[in-house]
């Protein structure tokens, strides 16, 4: 029996998983009957969870975060076991892995930069529009996730960018 912590969309669940062939796991102290009934292609599965059927896609995002997609809802998953917890504690204690005070704005989808609304050195409030990007004939505004100062503008107007392309960097203040 191994205990792991599963974080789903920011909420922790404690699971005890037996290392045998049984169909049971314990989740937050409750027994769960779980069976993988069918596999489609490489990463789509039909599961029976306490006899409730769910078709899911196990997916990984380009940023490295794991997802389980159930009926169009993408759940962000992180699994922590004892070893990983030790490593995280070490990182925390040594001052590494502290949350960054920077916001690196990336392109949420491939498109064309139509207009850059801020200059380097500008002060922005959370929610201020930074960039207009056009994808599939529609203009979309990208807003600042934090209050801060624009320290770097990498994007250029008229430039075509790929998904996740680095656009603007903001330093919190």
């Amino acid at each position: 029996m191994e205990e792991i912590i599963i974080n789903v969309n920011g909420n922790d669940f404690t699971a005890q998983i037996p290392h045998d062939e049984s169909d049971f796991i314990m989740l937050n102290g409750k027994p769960i009957d779980i069976r993988q009934l069918k596999q489609y292609g490489t990463n789509v599965f039909s599961f029976s969870v306490n006899n409730k059927l769910l078709l899911v896609e196990l997916d990984i995002h380009e940023t490295g975060t794991s997802y389980i997609n159930a009926d169009g809802f993408y759940h962000e998953i992180d699994i922590t076991n004892d070893t990983k917890r030790l490593i995280q504690k070490y990182l925390r204690d040594s001052g590494l892995g502290v949350e960054s005070t920077h916001a690196k704005i990336k392109a949420p989808m491939p498109g064309m930069i139509i207009k850059i609304l801020v200059e380097e050195g500008a002060h922005v409030e959370k929610g201020d529009k930074l960039i207009l990007i056009e994808a599939m004939k529609m203009e979309n505004a990208i807003s600042s996730p934090i209050k801060g100062k624009v320290i770097h503008v990498k994007a250029r107007e008229g430039e075509a960018v790929e998904k996740d392309a680095f656009l603007i960097e903001i330093e919190a203040e």
Binding site: E2, I6, N11, F13, K52, L54, A70, G72, A135, K137
Partner: protein, 503 residues
């Protein structure tokens, strides 16, 4: 009847037209840009010709290439679908010139109705009620602001050559005017190659009601009733239905008559749609006329039993309408949901990718007009609408219940879609009541409901994650197949590797 026609479009509407042609025993010719080589619509047709352009979209807008294909493939007529060249008078004109029948109205009607300023003038003369606003397009921002003040805020800025919500901005005060005007101009220039914008009074929270009309070349005009397209996000229709929950028989007849007058005023032939805004006092105003088959035509087909695409082809061949106004009977209720590849959890931004799993809904009262299949690629080159899901029921409740079921059974993996959002709207008590307007998504619908729906699954998802983790530890081949599937940075892979190293 025609022997062979060209389908000058792509995606679900190309499939729709090919089906109608087949039902009439007509052969079809598809055209495709290289990126569409594997798209389903190409393979539905009898013949397919490649068309060329640096930008994929450009190929479907190239009149010379399309006419050339029509000629060399022996087509007698061209169906333009919606979007692309469907509302370009020069395409209709070029077809006429080369003696290829254009399945749609004559160039004159397209031109007049395609220019909002001319359309307003003509409608005004024909006694069709119009929304107060500018009579000519404005390019100078200062002039525009003075006019905006005269009409009185809130106002709406619209691209003169526009459609589909592109180049459209709502402005509530002088402060917002400059940004809105520039933005509308830019989008208008991009989308239509014309940056002139016109201004009109913004009617707050109206219903968007449109009337389907159809006319033959023998002077017969019939209206097929209304569609309620009030569920819109950023002026893009998302859910449509027929009939509307608020129209009385009397208003329906009135709007139908006005729509027919609008069509007659421009000598309209073939299928068209007259769009109106209906305010709270049930007063209606002409918005625009769409001189083509609409995306949402299937709901009208469902309640009237008429195949609009087939009827369009018959009319183009010179046949008379196969029905009179008195013969039109509306039965039951129909709803359409547009399935967009957009991420409801990321500001509804378009998503791209490969469809690696697809399960389509079916069963009684369900129709799916789709442009995708398993392994289709969804790219940034075209509109993000993948398919249209249409249900019919003996009443609104039954149609909605079937829509709920069909949406739940519709499984698309590999690209994010708005299906979760559509389910939330279909279940919303205000939408359910029928008393909603175009402000519904902006003012009434709480987008947080999606997060709540998501939370309901979390325990099951955690169980599946735990199961998969265990399976990954126990079963080497399973682990390898998952690792191959996931890219190198997978946290799970790290977990598995860490576990193996220490255990």
């Amino acid at each position: 009847m025609f022997k062979r026609i060209l389908v000058a479009n792509r995606g679900e509407i190309a499939v729709r037209i090919i089906r109608a042609a087949r039902d009439l025993g007509i052969e079809t010719v598809a055209v495709y840009h290289e990126v569409d080589r594997e798209s389903p619509f190409v393979h539905h047709a009898d013949f397919a010709y490649e068309i060329y352009s640096a930008q994929p979209k450009g190929a479907y807008l190239d009149i010379n290439q399309l006419i050339d294909v029509a000629k060399k493939s022996g087509c007698q007529a061209v169906h333009p679908g919606y979007g692309f060249l469907s509302e370009r008078a020069e395409f209709s004109f070029a077809c006429e010139e080369k003696e290829i029948k254009f399945i749609g109205p004559h160039p004159h009607a397209i031109e007049v109705m395609g220019n909002k300023t001319k359309a307003r003038e003509l409608m005004s003369k024909a006694g069709v009620p119009i929304v107060p606003g500018t009579e000519s397009p404005i390019q100078n921002v200062n002039d525009a602001m003075i006019i905006a003040r005269e009409i009185g805020y809130p106002i709406l800025l619209k691209a003169s050559a526009g459609g589909g919500g592109k180049g459209m901005r709502k402005v509530f005060s002088d402060d917002e005017f400059l940004e809105g005007f520039e933005s509308a101009q830019r989008e208008a220039l991009k989308a239509f190659g014309d940056d002139s914008v016109y201004i009109e009074k913004f009617i707050e929270n109206p219903k968007h009601i449109e009337i389907q009309i159809i006319a033959d070349e023998h002077g017969n005009y019939v209206h097929l009733g209304e569609r309620d397209c009030s569920i819109q996000r950023r002026h893009q229709k998302v859910i449509e239905e027929a009939p509307s929950t608020v129209l009385t028989e009397e208003i329906r007849a009135q709007m139908g008559e006005v729509a027919i007058n609008a069509a007659k005023a421009c000598g309209y032939v073939n299928a068209g749609t007259v769009e109106f805004l209906l305010d709270k006092d049930k007063k209606f105003y002409f918005l625009e006329m769409n001189t083509r088959l609409q995306v949402e035509h299937p709901v009208t087909e469902a309640v009237t039993g008429i195949d609009l695409a087939k009827e369009q082809i018959r009319i183009a061949f010179g046949e008379k309408l196969s029905f009179t106004q008195d013969e039109i009977k509306w039965t039951g209720h129909s709803i359409e949901c547009r399935i967009y590849a957009e991420d409801p959890f990321n500001g509804y931004l378009p998503d791209t990718g490969t469809i690696h799993y697809l399960r389509e809904p079916g069963g009684k009262g369900v129709r799916l007009d789709s442009g995708i299949e398993q392994s289709s690629k969804v790219t940034i080159h075209f509109d993000p609408m993948l398919a249209k899901l249409i249900t019919w029921g003996k009443d609104r409740e039954e149609a909605l219940q079937r829509m709920d079921r069909a949406l739940q059974n519709y499984r698309i993996k590999g690209v994010k879609t708005i299906i979760p959002f559509l389910i939330a709207v279909i279940r919303h008590p205000v939408f359910r009541s029928g008393y909603f307007d175009t402000g519904f998504l902006e003012n009434t619908f709480d987008f947080k409901i999606l997060s709540k729906m998501k939370q309901e699954y979390e325990e099951i998802i955690a169980s599946i994650a735990a199961y998969t983790y265990r399976k990954g530890i126990q079963d080497k081949s399973y682990r390898l197949s998952m690792q191959k599937q996931f890219v190198k940075k997978s946290k799970w892979k790290e977990n598995w590797l860490i576990h193996r190293k220490y255990s």
